[in-house]
């Protein structure tokens, strides 16, 4: 399978996930990040979990907001949206309290759930035919 097709296949798999499997995977990645920061402190584990978390959610947001673009650009623009969402949620957490390890994990959970919700809402709108 070509790279472009592979990317689109993965994208379809993630965005049309009815059982919220990828949201659960995202939340598991957050758990791994939390445990890594509390006990292990390994950049390899951290990087692996973070990349998976960021990729899943970039794809979700890219599909939700930029459906008309090609898969790679969708993912890049999804990353831009992800950056914005991550920053705003993190900033609110920081202003309310502080960005320690537990609070960062909570912020990441909120972020993952928000991405999943945005994607679900978009799918519902598509079903209802709302632009």
């Amino acid at each position: 399978m070509k790279w472009k097709d592979q990317l689109e296949y993965i994208e379809r798999l993630i965005t049309r996930d009815q059982n919220l499997l990828f949201t659960i995977i995202s939340l598991m990645m957050v758990l791994i990040i939390y445990l890594n920061q509390t006990f292990v402190y390994s950049p390899i584990i951290g990087a692996a979990a973070s990349v998976v978390l960021l990729l899943i959610n970039a794809i979700l947001l890219g599909r939700a907001f930029f459906e008309g673009e090609i898969a790679f650009i969708r993912m890049l623009l999804g990353s831009l949206m992800l950056l914005l969402l991550l920053g705003v949620i993190g900033w609110v957490t920081l202003i309310i309290c502080k960005l320690d390890v537990p609070n960062t994990s909570v912020a990441l959970c909120i972020f993952a759930i928000s991405c999943s919700t945005i994607n679900k809402l978009k799918q519902q709108r598509v079903k209802l035919g709302v632009k």
């Binding site: 790279w3 472009k4 990040i33 890594n36 920061q37 292990v40 402190y41 390994s42 950049p43 584990i45 951290g46 990087a47 979990a49 973070s50 978390l53 907001f65 090609i70 790679f72 650009i73 890049l76 623009l77 990353s79 831009l80 950056l83 914005l84 991550l86 920053g87 705003v88 993190g90 900033w91 957490t93 920081l94 202003i95 309310i96 309290c97 502080k98 960005l99 320690d100 390890v101 960062t104 912020a107 990441l108 632009k131």
Partner: protein
């Protein structure tokens, strides 16, 4: 053909890896500029890689590969500071890291300087103080399980490298560019020295520019697309731009006002053209005045007294005033630097005017014309705002030339569009005989054009990178300065205060954070720190160190001095003074805590005094 593309991909990847390797080999513990330790082959490799990338962009290669390579190239060209210097570029980004470090260490609540006596000031501090950028640095550090030092220094080059080309690509597409031209625009972000420099340092303003460009893309989409989501997206991005930095926020707000008024103008102009024009003009004036008035009224929140003035006009001679008005600070640039700074914006502005002229007979509902009108007004607004700030205002809390960065960001798509239009334009203005010749040798000339444009653009980008990174700087934070502040922190269990120069203070704040009561380094703007350092230089004695301890109730005080070999831009102590201070300190029974060496030679000494 496919094999040829694969070959080009492999060659480009090889050159990119080679470039990274050559830069990493240049990483040095004691360095002034990025050029000093760099191998002479780095720039030729950079030029070759860029030329190949332009050739890839102009070929029929898949857009995914083009964008991927542009992003790699962009990240590389913005990472020279972080790769070559031990602690990134010396200065403000290190102070920002000081604040971020406090958040990372959980020693502050509600963000940097998150407490205030007044709710208005508290809200101002939430939005300011670099909290938004710190959020990214801290969150990425926790996610990737690395020290905040790395996530902070890598933040701007990475975000800039990924998103500026991507958004520029999208903006150029919105302006009617083909995929090739849009990809070229993605690369041309590296042809502006100011953009290279701002993307290479991790300061809140840099992150703000990324969100500003994002908001600009959504303004254009709002103007051209009937979809309602773009209205929300442009508002959200304006907010993010504001959260990142007030300057980018208010410029985004001005553009937002322009976008809304152009949309209104488009709907109203058929019904009542004169009223629509008047409203558009009023909105334009309002959007120009937002930044100057915001700066003036900033005094409500912070003691920064920016005000309007006519003094500067009286100070300049007529020639100087005219020069300032037309060229701004370019007036004082070397001709070579002047050319490279002005080339892009000049081409872009000419391109905008040309586009406005050529699309004048198009239908009023033509989307490209609306976008070009919007960007033309944006250009004008920035041009006027810069002049107001530069000539009619005093105590502006930032360098007015930062406005140029917005102008450069706006220019990128137009430069790419202008390059694309160049052959058509030349064909149109060529005499009949030349036109016949051009038609007859179309293929050969097309090939020649592609080769020469690759070389020309590669030369332009390489020269911009050369101009962007300073050739004359103070000694950057050295590896032994970092080592010293880390050593002191790791081996002191009690509260301590450090008397040192500005440069050690930067290094200290990066490692222990700003205003850390447990490990206190005086910030650069605190005169008490300077006073204590001068006292210690003149009379290195325990009495001065005891005086310093009283500031934070510390029980241990350190005095750190660094020696610098004689140089054109000497910022640390010279050998003679360094030796004199050591001698006097020893006479005054001041104990040496640790000596640090670089290549076998003493460079830094830490003295200490502890209350018994």
């Amino acid at each position: 053909m496919k094999r040829f593309f694969v070959f080009k991909r492999i060659i480009y990847s090889f050159l990119a890896v080679l470039l990274l390797y050559a830069c990493m080999r240049a990483r040095s513990g004691e360095v002034y500029t990025v050029w000093q330790p760099m191998h002479p082959m780095v720039m030729p490799i950079f030029f070759t890689a860029t030329a190949l990338l332009v050739a890839i962009i102009l070929s029929s290669e898949r857009i995914e590969y083009k964008l991927l390579f542009i992003i790699i190239h962009s990240i590389l060209s913005h990472s020279f500071f972080i790769i070559i210097f031990p602690a990134g570029s010396i200065g403000f980004q290190q102070i920002v890291l000081g604040g971020t470090r406090r958040i990372f260490d959980n020693t502050v609540l509600h963000g940097v300087r998150g407490t205030a006596e007044n709710i208005l000031i508290l809200i101002y501090k939430w939005f300011g103080s670099g909290n938004f950028q710190s959020t990214y640095s801290v969150m990425f550090a926790r996610m990737f399980s690395v020290d905040v030092f790395w996530s902070h220094l890598l933040l701007a080059p990475t975000l800039w490298g990924i998103f500026i080309p991507t958004i520029t690509f999208m903006i150029t597409k919105t302006l009617g560019g083909t995929e090739k031209v849009s990809a070229l625009a993605g690369l041309l972000g590296s042809a502006f020295p100011l953009l290279i420099y701002l993307g290479a340092i991790s300061v809140p303003n840099s992150v703000g520019y990324v969100f500003f460009l994002g908001s600009l893309f959504f303004f254009l989409k709002y103007l051209t697309s009937p979809e309602s989501k773009y209205k929300s997206l442009m508002l959200i991005f304006t907010f993010a731009s504001f959260l990142s930095h007030f300057l980018t926020g208010f410029i985004s707000l001005s553009f937002l006002l322009l976008a809304l008024s152009i949309k209104k103008y488009e709907t109203d102009k058929v019904r009542s053209p004169s009223v629509a024009k008047f409203l558009l003009f009023s909105s334009f004036i309002l959007s120009i005045s937002i930044l100057p008035f915001v700066l003036f009224y900033q005094r409500i929140f912070v003691p920064i007294y920016t005000s309007f003035t006519m003094d500067k006009i009286y100070r300049y001679t007529t020639t100087e005033l005219l020069g300032q008005f037309l060229l701004g600070d370019y007036l004082y640039y070397f001709p070579r630097a002047f050319l490279i700074y002005i080339a892009g914006p000049l081409i872009a502005f000419t391109g905008v005017i040309y586009k406005l002229h050529t699309t004048r007979h198009q239908k009023p509902s033509n989307n490209t014309r609306i976008c070009i009108l919007f960007l033309f007004l944006g250009f004008l607004m920035l041009w006027v705002d810069y002049r107001i700030l530069k000539i009619f205002m005093m105590n502006v809390p930032f360098n007015e030339e930062r406005i140029w960065v917005f102008r450069d960001l706006l220019s990128i798509p137009f430069v790419a569009l202008a390059i694309n239009e160049l052959p058509t334009f030349l064909r149109r203005i060529a005499p009949v005989r030349a036109a016949t010749f051009l038609r007859a040798h179309k293929r050969a000339l097309f090939l020649m054009f592609n080769i020469s444009i690759s070389a020309l653009l590669a030369g332009w980008i390489a020269f911009s990178v050369n101009c962007a990174y300073p050739h004359y700087s103070p000694l950057q934070t050295t590896s032994y300065e970092l080592e010293a502040v880390k050593y002191v922190d790791e081996n002191t269990t009690k509260e301590y205060i450090v008397i040192c120069d500005l440069w050690i203070s930067y290094a200290g704040q990066m490692i222990v954070g700003s205003y850390n009561p447990r490990a206190y380094y005086f910030p650069d703007y605190d005169p008490r720190g300077v006073e204590l350092f001068i006292k210690m230089k003149n009379n290195p004695s325990p009495e001065v160190m005891i005086e310093a301890m009283n500031y934070t109730n510390a029980t241990v005080a350190y005095f750190i001095i660094t020696k610098e070999k004689e140089s054109a831009f000497q910022t640390r102590l010279g050998e003679e003074e360094y030796n004199r201070i050591i001698q006097e300190a020893q006479q005054n029974n001041l104990q040496t805590y640790k000596i640090f060496y670089y290549r076998g030679e003493e460079r830094l000494r830490v003295f200490y005094h502890q209350l018994t």
